[in-house]
């Protein structure tokens, strides 16, 4: 689902004409999206269609080949200070050290990300409080994912970027995640999530961005030269 730029309000997180080429591989082009407060955008598409690349571009981990992402008239692409305050990114990997306990991992990131949220309090919400003093290497992949989700709750950022957040989670975990996401949307937060699983978000609060619609279009001049 995409919107014309003229319809975009200034408090919407808006991507305009984004293109991404990784190495020699074109990933997507002319990608435009719009994300108002309190809404979720679910990225769907085949493997390699650019879901993770789009999230990395928004998070400033990958440069966009072209295009811009703006909020309140300000281009936020590559603005590290703004990104670190407003964006919370949960990648495929959990960012947890197996040798450290869950509490040590969470406290470290809380300190580095400069927020004072009570790690134990958030861990209770995620149902991981009984594992706080265990090394992450002792946890199942689902428990480790829950531990990583706790970091999101501690983060004050309004925009959640969730890349395959349900990986490793059981059905209870997926339901819990859906509840947390719905709560975040009710508070006016924004979510971009790439997932192959139905998340159970409230229908009026989420839209789908099909990455196949933005598959890289090779310019005519190249197609002619190939022929």
């Amino acid at each position: 689902m995409s919107f014309s730029v003229s319809n975009m309000s200034s408090d919407h997180l808006s991507g305009k004409n984004l293109a991404c080429i990784r190495g020699d591989r074109p990933v997507f082009s002319n990608l435009t999206f719009d994300l108002p407060p309190g809404r979720a955008l679910i990225l769907q598409g085949a493997n390699g269609s650019g879901k993770s690349s789009l999230m990395k571009i928004i998070a400033g981990l990958l440069p966009a080949t072209s295009g811009e992402i703006s909020l309140q008239g300000q281009n936020i692409l590559g603005d590290k200070d703004w990104i670190s305050q407003n964006i919370c990114y949960l990648a495929h990997k959990n960012g947890m050290k197996p040798e450290l306990t869950v509490a040590e991992n969470l406290t470290f990131w809380a300190r580095l990300e400069r927020h004072n949220g009570d790690v134990r309090e958030q861990a209770v919400k995620i149902g991981i409080d009984h594992c706080l003093d265990l090394p992450v290497s002792y946890l199942s992949s689902g428990q480790a994912r829950r531990a990583a989700l706790t970091r999101i709750l501690c983060h004050p950022g309004n925009i959640w970027l969730l890349d395959e957040p349900t990986v490793g989670l059981d059905s209870d975990g997926v339901a819990l995640l859906s509840g947390l996401m719905n709560d975040h949307l009710k508070r006016g937060g924004r979510i971009l999530a790439a997932t192959h699983i139905e998340l159970g978000l409230e229908a009026d609060k989420s839209s789908v961005l099909n990455m196949a619609d933005f598959a890289y279009q090779m310019p005519d001049i190249f197609e002619e030269s190939l022929l």
């Binding site: 990784r22 990958l62 964006i87 990648a91 990997k93 947890m96 450290l100 470290f108």
Partner: protein
């Protein structure tokens, strides 16, 4: 920012303590390399004495090289490196903290066991203090220069060999002046210039590594 830098150093030290094996393996490698020389060249006291400083320094360089890929590799593999980039802390500061932690967990244990190896290599009595002093002043350069190599190869599979090829030539000035400083002291000559050069290598590498390594990491992750 200083407290955050200290937090990153403390985390890496805690990780090193929990893992344990890396530091012990590096120390074991250091001892083994030095022990090999008397077996290879024989127990001739004079020859061992002449070679002792060079052998200990070369063993220290190789041992340091052995652990360089650990500076960023595990953070890359478990996703911590992405989170460091996203955090409000500048990546340059993260690099600085990780190189300091690498020096503490790798070079410091080597410096501590160096006197024992000096006995093994028949190091002259007046050479112990200068050897330890040169290692204290010179080994930070090994960690910082190594940090640049580790950042360039962090996203490569089997980057260890490339890392060695990249970094070993850059270690040569540290080796030369480290050995010369100790030999000058043993022979009764002043070693101030050599020591100043070692300090300058360490300070220069500490100054450029955070910028160079942070740029290499960002580029590698793209």
């Amino acid at each position: 920012m200083i407290s955050l830098t200290l937090a990153i150093i403390a985390r890496d030290l805690r990780l090193s303590l929990r893992r344990g094996a890396t530091t012990i393996m590096v120390m074991g490698f250091f001892v083994m390399v030095v022990i090999m020389f008397p077996f290879a060249i024989g127990p001739e006291q004079n020859i061992l004495q002449r070679m002792s400083v060079g052998v200990i320094w070369v063993a220290a360089l190789l041992s340091c090289l052995l652990s360089l890929d650990s500076i960023f590799q595990s953070d890359y593999e478990d996703g911590s490196l992405d989170q460091f980039i996203l955090s409000p802390v500048p990546l340059e500061l993260v690099v600085l903290a990780k190189c300091i932690a690498h020096w503490i967990t790798t070079s410091l244990p080597l410096i501590i066991i160096t006197p024992i190896l000096g006995i093994l290599m028949n190091l002259p009595e007046q050479g112990y203090f200068p050897l330890i002093l040169t290692m204290v002043l010179g080994t930070p350069a090994l960690s910082f220069i190594g940090g640049i190599g580790a950042s360039l190869t962090v996203t490569l599979r089997r980057g260890g060999v490339l890392l060695s090829l990249l970094i070993l030539p850059l270690y040569i000035p540290v080796l030369i002046f480290g050995v010369l400083a100790v030999k000058a002291t043993i022979d009764g000559y002043p070693a101030t210039e050599h020591l100043m050069l070692l300090i300058s290598f360490s300070l220069f590498s500490a100054a450029i590594t955070p910028w160079a390594a942070a740029a290499a990491i960002r580029s590698g992750l793209e």
